[in-house]
Amino acid sequence: MVSNAGSPTLHMKAEMAVALTGITKRFGAFVANDGIDLAVRRGEIHAIIGENGAGKTTLMNILFGLLQPDEGSIRLNGEETVVTGPAVAIKAGLGMVHQHFKLVPSLSVADNVFLGMEIRRHGLIDHAAQIARTRELSKRFGLQVDPTERVGLLSVGIEQRIEILKVLVRGARTIILDEPTAVLTPQESRELFQTLRSFVAEGMTVIFISHHLEEVMEVSDTVTVLRNGKKVATRPTAELSKDELVRMMVGREVSFDRRPRAPSRGEVVLQVEELWARDDRRLPALRNVSFTVRSGEVVGIAGVAGNGQTELAEVLSGLRPASHGIARLKGRNLAALSPREIRRAGLAHVPGDRMVRGVDRNASIAANMLMGRQHRAPWSSCGVLNWTVISQNASRLIKDFDIRAQGPGDAVKRLSGGNIQKVVLAREFTNDADFLLIDQPTRGVDIGAQEAIHDEIMRQRAAGRAILLISVQLDELAALADRILVMFNGRIMGEVAGDGADEDRIGMMMAGVAAPELAAEPA
């Protein structure tokens, strides 16, 4: 029974380069992808946008066969496919450019491009043919590289071009790029976008992951927004405004009630004046940032990730030099102090990436709670650690902070994300520091632990600490902060009172609309 109604649907399906239906992926109790549907038309640039941890990379790894979904199905070019591994995906015309490049430094560009599928003549590798083919592809798509050069001598931007060439040589028609601009300079990013457009012009399909609004607006045809492992929407880019996109990314509904508080406003603890700093690519990451934090107040920093918040935290903790301007902690210039001296001067730091800077995951809870005070009595004397004291102290903190663990000897890596964060908080909040720098305290933490962490932050406020709270979650800032500063592109766009914070206004500033323009509008 071949009906007429059947063929148009078939035709429509064939137009889809990629169609994911109901993809769910769990890691233990954590749901990374929750019933996600995604349809990518052939010949479009499809951006997938969301905060860190929204599930973007997990979804793409499932599509490319690096992870297997717990539920859901995948159609490639209209055909139901079980992507058991990358080989299957590559055969179906998919190619993926990962965030971390896998190139061999001592080999030439052409050798790297053809590695694993060398062109051979009489059993020997035909370098001339490989070089010619690489040159041809690089010309065709505007990916400027010299095929004969050694990869070890090249910049990151060029390495990315080589990774793209690798994918092209393997015959990919649909190219997935995972945060391709994270390592690029603005100039290189523009060149990359031109290349992506030339792919589409040849009828190829591009899927790219990003958390940068600007570039998504600039280059994509369609946007899919993910948040907390769920799909928020798929919309044509032309129909979207930047602040709509921001709101979809960070979420509108406020799930936390504002915490009750007594008014308190003590003396200035942290004073930042006209601070500038550069990121790892030597590009300006902080531009003329000035603010103060007083004791007994929580100052929130809002903004889409990657707008200078990380660099601000690093400068304030002494991990990154400022290029200009001054930051004073209780009147002392931070630039003159080492990280340890800054801590002694009164800083406690809850780092944004707790697994990298917050804890040593292989060490025990007790050892992690010791860090930073191992050279002081009563934890050590004459250079010898006093494990009895350390253990007792850890046991007490485990109880006080309600850390779900067997005991102080437990390895941190066996704890859940929320409990690991509590280990960091327990260590940092018991240092009698006057200034608390708290970066993304509840990222990847379950709801119960979130509540407990927020309670603890409010207790610290009541104890008269000065707190700088950096978060990409607006509802968290609305619940905790007395004032919210909004960062965009390294600048502070404006300040909003935490009480009755106007999310529309914050959203506009997060998207780069300056505060004065807003102020001009009737409130």
């Binding site: 080989a87 896998k102 190139l103 061999v104 430094p105 001592s106 080999l107 050798d111 590695l115 694993g116 060398e118 051979r120 059993g123 020997l124 590798i125 370098h127 040593d360 292989n362 060490a363 025990s364 007790a366 050892a367 010791l370 494990w387 000897g409 390895a411």
Partner: protein, 328 residues
Amino acid sequence: MEILDKLVNVALIAATLRTTAPILLVALGGSFTTKAGIFNIGLEGQMLAGAFFAVIGSIWTGSALLGVACGVAAALAFALVFAVLVVSFRANEVVVGLALNILAGGMTISLMKAIFGTRGSIVGHGIVGLPKVQLPGARELLGSWAPLISGFTPIVYVAFIAVPLLVLFYNRTRLGLYIRVVGEKPEAAEALGISITRVRYIASLLCGLLAGLAGAHLSLGYITMFTENMSSGRGFMAVAILIFSNGDPLKVLAGCLLFGFADAFSLRLQTFGYPSYLVLTVPYVVALTALFALSYRARPKIIAETLASMQRLLSTDKNTGPDGKHPS
């Protein structure tokens, strides 16, 4: 000038090529493992086993060629054990290499005692040495220079022909390329579906093959006998040369020629009546001095790497410490 003429002449150069051959072969073998990312300190033992079993094979079969085959087979067995322990079971390569070296030394001594009832050396017993290859036409063409290319045992020719072959192997064959990739960037190999384990096994066995040939050359080449600890540190010299050459065949050749020349020169000095123990140190002193001079420029990098590795060590100690394990 007369003394210099006596010292440096065609015979000395020919002797240099002869003495270079075994260390060149074993170093080229080590080039496979070096390129594949394995630090193979077991070259000495593989070479010694090769030398011993080449003699045994030669006595049993009465054929030099089968003797060489026996030596190679013994070295391959050592290489296989090395690969199983290091590649499959991820044992520490220095520990395994040293253990196999000690095993080779002890095993050859006790087998000598068991089979021949002697200690020290095996001479006679019908050992058949390798024939010398007289290239036809060499004498007519080169006159008194002929000994430079003619009259060596086959293994010498193999050693020197192996150098350009290895250059070709690393640059133009898929296996050679994969060995380099596995050594330099294992993640890249993995991502491309190249089996790191398989490539490292192949590299280890190729190493055993050449180390066995080198050993056979020692005992069946110019002197047909086996003595205790016959490899006398050549395997370790090869390791040193490999570290400084990073396994590149041409640089390996240069390093080995230097050592071979010093070796031949010291033999020549002995005939002048200098104390033999002092003279025997010459090749090692020369080679080490040259290697030190070469590496002097690369010094900051080496120091930086050492510091980095020490920091890694310290940080792992810190990790295990609080768990109750004692950092060693």
